[in-house]
Symmetry: C2
Subunit: 262 residues, 2 copies
């Protein structure tokens, strides 16, 4: 069996999330359908993690086992011929047997984008939460830094979380301005259910001046969801990048299909 990994982008607006479920179309369903059409094989693929309904991905990583003889450099372009336009396979790779897109992941980065223009921009509104009033970005920058390091993030996960431990490590946080747009990047070793959206919802209250930037410390310490702000809307969120230890990352960074293009 070959262990095939793919780096996948999607506009999650039309899907009930990444992972297959009894009702509603998911990104996983579309990917498995395209693999079946291409290889004739029914596979069950794994992703680095779920994304919720309406959440997007720039670099989701998936893998599955296949006996198909299709050369790995042909997979991406062939899959894109079968996939709907809002899902794009960016690259395909043959991985060592030990690789699991889910279990091997060591770092994930999410981006949350807010537009603060007077009106939504029709050309990126699908990927921006539109906030009518200006935000104090400096206050948000002070606030988000309290998340750095290892913490129990119970205050920042929805009641639905089934994880045994709520301890996670946040490695990097960054807020970039781009004209009327604000992009929050957060990198960690893993994220709880709805964690990024509750972090952003809380920071929005900081940016509005409703809460002080230093409120984040006591909210973390309380380990109580009711102390944090609201959950931000799904459509501003993008699973930006997933990183793996070597030798996996080296293989994922090298696109075998690049030889197919001039």
């Amino acid at each position: 069996m070959r262990n095939i990994a793919m780096v996948v982008s999607y506009d999650g607006g039309a899907y009930q999330g990444f992972q297959s479920q009894p009702s509603g179309l998911t990104v996983q369903d579309e990917l498995e359908k395209a693999i079946r059409r291409l290889s004739g094989q029914d596979v069950r693929l794994d992703g680095s993690g779920r994304t919720d309904a309406g959440v997007h991905a720039q670099g989701q990583v998936i893998n599955f086992l296949s006996t198909s003889p299709i050369p790995v450099e042909r997979w991406a372009i062939a899959m894109n011929g079968w996939l709907p336009h809002d899902i794009v396979v960016r690259s395909a790779h043959e991985m060592p047997e030990a690789f699991s897109s889910r279990k091997s992941a060591i770092r994930k980065t999410y981006r949350y984008s807010i537009s603060t223009g007077k009106h939504p921009n029709v050309f990126n509104r699908r990927f921006r939460y539109h906030h009518y009033n200006p935000l104090d970005v400096e206050a948000m920058r002070v606030g988000i830094r309290h998340l750095l390091g290892e913490h129990d993030f119970s205050s920042f996960t929805s009641a639905g979380s089934t994880k045994k431990s709520h301890v996670r490590t946040v490695y990097e946080v960054r807020i970039e301005r781009d004209g009327p747009d604000i992009h929050l990047f957060i990198t960690g070793n893993g994220f709880l259910y709805n964690m990024v959206r509750i972090v952003v919802g809380t920071l929005l209250w900081v940016g509005e001046g409703k809460w002080k930037p230093d409120c984040i410390g006591p909210i973390l310490a309380a380990r109580d969801r009711s102390k944090a702000g609201p959950r931000a809307e799904a459509h501003g969120l993008v699973l930006w990048e997933v990183r793996y230890p070597e030798p996996f990352q080296m293989i994922l960074d090298n696109d075998p299909a690049s030889s197919l293009w001039p």
Copy 2:
């Protein structure tokens, strides 16, 4: 009667063009419906020009006559409450009686965007024509300069054109690179039916090396549609900006609603 003008953006992907027609939903239909809901009045609005099915606008300008007492600074935000998410009124203005969004227009700028990445980018694919192979942008820059000035553009309009004269003046042309994206801007006193798309289709052949950049001169001189290249796809095209003589432009540049936002 008040003469109300609005600057409107839209993602044209879901519409059968700007202008109302017997079959299919149009941007004009949606705008007239929103005006009716807001003011209780049936109006027939005029736009600076039609855009074809699937073509977008950053700054389309419309106007209509109304007896509604709604203050002009409230129109934009109130319209946006009724409009679908892919149409956004950016500003509203009370204009002199003589203003016509169509007849008063003196300059229009269109943007056509091409993505040359190996795969389409899911986050902007609705507004980019995806071209798999690299393009010779320098050759395209040489080619497009042949369009500057006053010419008979019969070679660059579809058979459907009903205009008496095919003479138009192109004031400015510009090609910008932004990573894998190429944006062509073309400004003129008016454009014939499908003119920008046929210009772009021809320049794509120049960029591919199929035709020489200096082919544009003889194509113009031939006044024969069959001498030009194919018509580029609609979804890469955006009506970028429309300009008017003073005092109209000054009024349009001043957004009365800006006092409503902090």
